[in-house]
């Protein structure tokens, strides 16, 4: 019985969402709100069971009473609704931003420096020629695209203009590739939903007498 309810609810929900492809309608709006409500409720439950319960509530009740200060600091966010005390919400926000800034230095070094090293690889070595050509193409692409995004001075020189133009063309290839991948990911989801409607609903949703 539960499976039957799940299958039919899922079918109705799927069709309700696809009804927007025809035109804006109240059924779509209703299910859109249901989805937002469910997503919010799911996030609340996950936040409590994955974060607040194991990292705050349980340690606090386990004897680490000082975790109550986290509630006070977290409560400072809500002073945003009280104009007289609103500055406190900015205090806690700026401290978090300061931390994020400090982490950024480490993040930059660990994320981008290995990428820099991986970008400028040998173009003269005993490696197979196609690898050397690829290494050269990677260097050219990185330099050309970075030149295109370099706005600190006007692109007056012909060399800079040409490099930036090449960068724009190479960017278009990259955007095309991203676009293709995105379309295929969405189409895979669509195929999965259509398969559910034409296969799963008749096989699981209609009781066999």
């Amino acid at each position: 019985m539960k499976d039957l309810v799940i299958v039919w609810l899922a079918a109705i929900a799927t069709l309700a969402i696809y009804s927007i492809l025809y035109k804006e309608n109240p059924i779509y709006r209703f299910f859109e709100h249901v989805f937002i409500g469910l997503a919010t409720g799911y996030s609340i439950a996950r936040l409590w069971s994955d974060v607040l319960l194991p990292s705050w509530w349980q340690p606090m009740l386990g004897g680490q009473w000082y975790w109550i200060f986290a509630l006070v600091v977290g409560g400072m966010f809500y002073t945003i609704y009280l104009p007289r005390y609103a500055w406190m919400s900015r205090l806690v926000m700026t401290v978090l931003m300061g931390m994020a800034a400090g982490i950024a230095f480490k993040g930059f070094a660990t994320l981008y420096i290995p990428q820099l090293a991986a970008t400028f690889r040998p173009i003269f070595s005993p490696a197979p020629p196609y690898l050397l050509v690829n290494n050269l193409l990677i260097i050219i692409t990185v330099v050309a695209v970075m030149t295109y995004f370099f706005f600190s001075f006007e692109h007056k020189s012909r060399a800079v203009r040409g490099t930036a133009s090449l960068g724009r063309w190479l960017l278009m290839i990259a955007f095309g590739a991203i676009f293709g991948s995105t379309v295929m990911a969405r189409v895979a989801l669509l195929t999965y939903r259509l398969w559910f409607l034409v296969h799963d609903v008749p096989s699981r949703g209609i009781p066999h007498l």
Binding site: W8, A10, T14, Y18, G37, G41, S49, Y78, Y112, V187
Partner: protein
């Protein structure tokens, strides 16, 4: 929970609220200086933790747990990470309050679409309860029905309709007959065709080994993705990284000005 612990927790709460009351007594300039100082210290901690070499102690007093890998600040990173996670978790309520305010107004003033707002509240409360109580036998069914019957299919359907919107956008983009649009279309075509059987059939007659194998559509797609696409995105990433670093420096040193940073306190 024993009484002593409860008293400690309540005392801590009173102490925290008292601290906030003291903070409120600060003057505008003092509040700003406090903010600048705390922001700087918060950033400095993570910067020092990163730049100090392994084995560094705090004047010989606090030895790191692992002398070959950590310095004296390293053990605090996880603790601070936990605190940030918990404090950040409390901020979730801000978004919740915002949603509740918008839908609450619509519902109680019976504005157009109040039924949708009611559906939002019912769905949110039901899913919260089902998520929190899913280990209880009676709630397992409710959780499964809501999660598998509504949440999952609604999520998948919402994201899959983007396939239609993205195709419409592509049609408009590719109608612009420029060299760039053509190049973008060719790259997209190659990547898409390499992922579907009909696309792969186009070059199925080519051998799977040797130099000719690199002309098969899946090889060309792989080359576009791992050489040109990767290099172009890496260049964009470098730009973002430098901007991120500059912005972080401005925030850390409280040099940033603007609507948020320059307000009176």
């Amino acid at each position: 929970m024993n009484l002593v612990l409860l008293l400690k927790i309540l005392s801590g709460l009173a102490l925290g609220i008292g601290g906030l009351a003291l903070l409120q007594r600060l003057r505008s300039g003092e509040r700003r200086r406090l903010m600048v100082a705390l922001t700087f210290i918060a950033g400095l901690f993570f910067l020092l933790e990163f730049v100090l070499p392994p084995g560094t102690t705090f004047f010989g007093l606090v030895p790191p747990a692992d002398l070959t890998r950590d310095n004296f600040l390293s053990s605090w990173v996880e603790v601070i990470g936990n605190v940030v996670m918990v404090v950040g978790g409390f901020a979730f309520g801000l978004g919740l309050l915002n949603l509740a305010t918008i839908h609450g107004r619509t519902l109680f003033r019976a504005r157009a679409g109040w039924q949708n707002s009611l559906a939002f509240f019912v769905a949110m409360i039901a899913m919260t309860l089902a998520g929190l109580l899913k280990d209880h036998r009676a709630w397992v069914t409710v959780h499964d029905v809501l999660f598998q019957g509504l949440y999952q299919p609604l999520g998948a359907s919402v994201f899959s309709i983007l396939a239609f919107f993205i195709t419409t956008a592509a049609y408009r983009a590719f109608r612009v007959r420029s060299g760039e649009a053509t190049l973008m279309m060719i790259a997209a075509f190659i990547v898409m065709m390499a992922q579907v059987p009909i696309g792969m059939m186009m070059t199925n007659w080519l051998p799977t080994e040797g130099w000719a194998a690199s002309l098969r559509i899946e090889s060309i797609s792989n080359w576009v993705l791992t050489v040109l696409n990767m290099a172009a995105l890496r260049a964009v990433g470098f730009g973002i990284g430098v901007g991120w670093l500059a912005m972080s420096l401005r925030v850390w040193l409280s040099l940033e000005k603007g609507s948020y940073f320059g307000k009176e306190m």
